[in-house]
Amino acid sequence: MFSIFKSKKNSDEKNPAQIEAESVSFADKIRQGLTRTRQQLGKQLSGLFGGRKIDEDLYEELETALLTADTGIEATNRLLESLRTRVKRDALDDSEQLKTALQDALTELLQPLERPLVTTGHQPFVIMIAGVNGVGKTTTIGKLAHYFQSQGHSVLLAAGDTFRAAAQEQLKVWGERNQITVISQESDPGKKGDPAAVIFDAVNAAIARKIDIVLADTAGRLTTQLHLMEEIKKIKRVVAKAIPDAPHEVLLVLDANTGQNAVSQLKAFNDALGVTGLVMTKLDGTAKGGVIAAIAAQFADNPLALRFIGVGEGLDDLRPFNAREFAEALFD
């Protein structure tokens, strides 16, 4: 959030070779991102911490900065509350110390979300991807496939978005470029248009071919479209018919541009599917994705794992989430 983790936009999906050639380390990426952060939000934030006294004005400006990042009222209040406690407890008196304290408070809030995805223990490990329209589900699947492949896993994709025009083609084009099998409805014309059937077939194909990981795409759906929410429940039930404990992971993809509605999206998809992990995309823009703090505050009793963050258009630009880095990069 707060536009950290920017990756230099070097290429896009068209040219994986180029990306590989340009092997930028994670630390470098964050540093690059920070340069941009300073340029964009630098004035606002570094101005806050530049050797000032801690007073009400400072708190108010901090509140504005947090709200501007979409942290929402509840999480913002919680962070500021925690900050005030720290200031009192540790008798902090200058703004530099306040910065560290805010980093700590934010890290503490986000820490429970930092749980990487472990795919061992099941073969195939079935991952179902869900989310509202346009958050970047299909693109994320491409990046996930690349991520798992680079770790030496075999991957199979299920083109479960049978609704949107050319969605299956989008995944197939991507699969061809990267030599990954994509199961789509054409492979069985008899089951035309049924996402559950496509994914069921893909899981069975993965069993037969001893594939490690199945990534199942689904059509974007708004949570108010009840029939589509029913449909996705059905997809999950049908997957369980192929492998009883599958899907092993239900990933909800959230767009960093989304405001407080992301909280409602999570609630609705969680009610329908039992979401096990989150992916936040599009953190390479100016959007800060601070709604993740709102989510952390809302789901404090039962925190969901934020598995990955999308920091650019390149295949490499999907990173495991790290709360401390996230928080530190923000006010560095």
């Binding site: 999906e13 068209k14 329209n133 346009g134 025009a165 991507w174 708004l222 405001g259 823009g285």
Partner: protein
């Protein structure tokens, strides 16, 4: 979490009671609540600041008239001001140039540009009787061009075929030639999604704009966007001479504060609202309804319109006649009403559109989606004859229907009793003045028992 403004204000309003005039001191607290409500609705902070100042100016000295409470008067001011900011009247699309009129679509990734292009093509063909050419300049996202080609096929618009390796600028000029030759009235140019900070891509679209000289350059914005909506809108309005906005995904449950943020930055009217995934899901934008929605006051008008759109008009009139007389209204009609209700997104979608107090009340009535589904299941298990003449359903038929729908005989009995009551109600209503009301909410009967 998303407390409704009306509810929030009701606490504050108590302190306002009995004041004849709104003053700086007595609206202070109320303004704070408005600010919080707007933040929760994702209106960007700079836009909120300006807005609050305007409301303050207007509200101070405002006489509390007639039967209004000071709180109501205050909400009125907020609502009016919000409406005024979002453009007051609705703005129509401008096609006043020598054809072909070019419409350029621009926006972030995933905002809904391609889907909106398809919808706009359909709308222009149906409402304005235009010959439309769809062009895709999105050479980046895999299968984006195929997506638009499919949408063209579905809408019946013409599609400009792109050769592999063609760059957006080449595509644009070739498409313009093609449109002139084939006498298209409108050319809709879809572009790749891009970030406002991506200088190369912003330059690309700015060049396209200079090349195409569009009469409308529409910024496609996602209604779910948060605070960053201002930054994005700013980047696009600096790179392009925007003429209007399409606000997408308004059929979701986001409050849509982005509408205000985008309007605040671009100053351009929101010309259309995307309200469904179907190609018919493009509507003119109504500032008054959006104002109500941002404030959490519900969208009753939208609900009624949706009822009218999704309900087959003739079918509805036939039902109305039957309902009015109470004669000949049978379980077949009952079943149809269930289906129409489903088309509208089910009971809970409708409840979402009601103002806060009403939907609260409705929830207290225990409207359960599952009960409605079960009821429909029972009706579906009846033969057409049974639906036409419910009185022939006796013990044996009841057992069969119960077995067929997975319900108990008691549930079948309950349904039949309810139906009988509904029929009686209709006869009664016919005598009173309820018919008018029913016309407004036609198609909603089963859930309203």
């Amino acid at each position: 979490m998303f407390d409704n403004l009306t509810e929030r204000l009701s606490g504050v309003i108590k302190t306002l009671r009995g004041e004849a005039r709104l003053t700086e001191s007595n609206i202070q607290e109320a303004l704070r609540e408005v600010r919080i409500a707007l933040i929760e609705a994702d209106v960007a902070l700079p836009a909120i600041k300006v807005f609050i100042e305007q409301v303050k100016q207007r509200a101070i000295g405002h006489e509390v008239l007639g039967k209004l409470s000071p709180g109501q008067a205050f909400i009125g001011v907020v609502h009016e001001e919000l409406m005024a900011i979002m453009g007051g009247d609705k703005a129509d699309i401008n096609l006043n140039v020598a054809p072909p009129a070019v419409i350029l679509m621009a926006g972030l990734q995933g905002a809904g540009k391609t889907t909106s292009s398809g919808k706009l093509a359909k709308w222009l063909m149906e409402q304005k009787k235009k010959k439309v050419l769809l062009v895709s300049c999105d050479i980046y996202r895999p299968a984006a061009i195929e997506q638009l080609a499919l949408l063209a096929e579905q809408t019946g618009a013409d599609f400009f075929p792109v050769k592999t390796g063609q760059q957006p600028a080449e595509i644009s000029t070739a498409a313009l030639d093609f449109a002139r030759k084939h006498h298209h009235d409108v050319v809709i140019v879809d572009t790749a999604g891009r970030l406002g900070i991506d200088e190369a891509m912003m330059q690309e679209i700015s060049q396209l704009e200079q090349l195409l000289k569009p009469v409308e350059t529409l910024f496609v914005a996602d209604a779910m966007q948060g605070q960053d909506a201002v930054n994005t809108a700013k980047a696009f309005s600096e790179a392009l001479p925007l003429t209007g906005v399409i606000l997408t995904k308004l059929d979701g449950d986001a409050r849509g504060g982005a509408a205000l943020s985008v309007r605040h930055i671009t100053g351009k009217p929101i010309k259309f609202a995307g309200v469904a995934e179907k190609l018919t899901g493009l509507e003119p934008f109504y500032p008054d309804r959006m104002a109500s929605r941002i404030l959490g006051m519900g969208d009753v008008l939208g609900l009624i319109e949706e009822a009218q759109r999704t309900t087959d008009q003739q079918e509805a009139e036939r039902l109305m006649k039957k309902m009015k007389s109470g004669k000949g209204f049978d379980l077949n009609d009952f079943q149809q009403q269930f289906q129409q209700m489903k088309k509208m997104g089910g009971m809970s979608a409708m409840l979402d559109k009601l103002p806060h107090q009403l939907s609260q009340a409705a929830q207290n009535m225990n409207v359960d989606e599952k009960v409605i589904n079960r009821t429909e299941g029972i009706i579906n298990s009846m033969t057409p004859q049974e639906r036409a003449k419910p009185e022939i359903i006796k013990a044996s038929r009841k057992r069969r229907i119960a077995a067929g729908s997975g319900a108990s005989v008691q549930e079948v009995n309950r349904l039949l009793t309810q139906f009988e009551q509904a029929r009686k109600m209709m006869k009664m209503m016919n005598k009173g003045g309820m018919a008018k009301m029913m016309r407004a909410v036609k198609g909603m009967l089963p859930g309203m028992r």
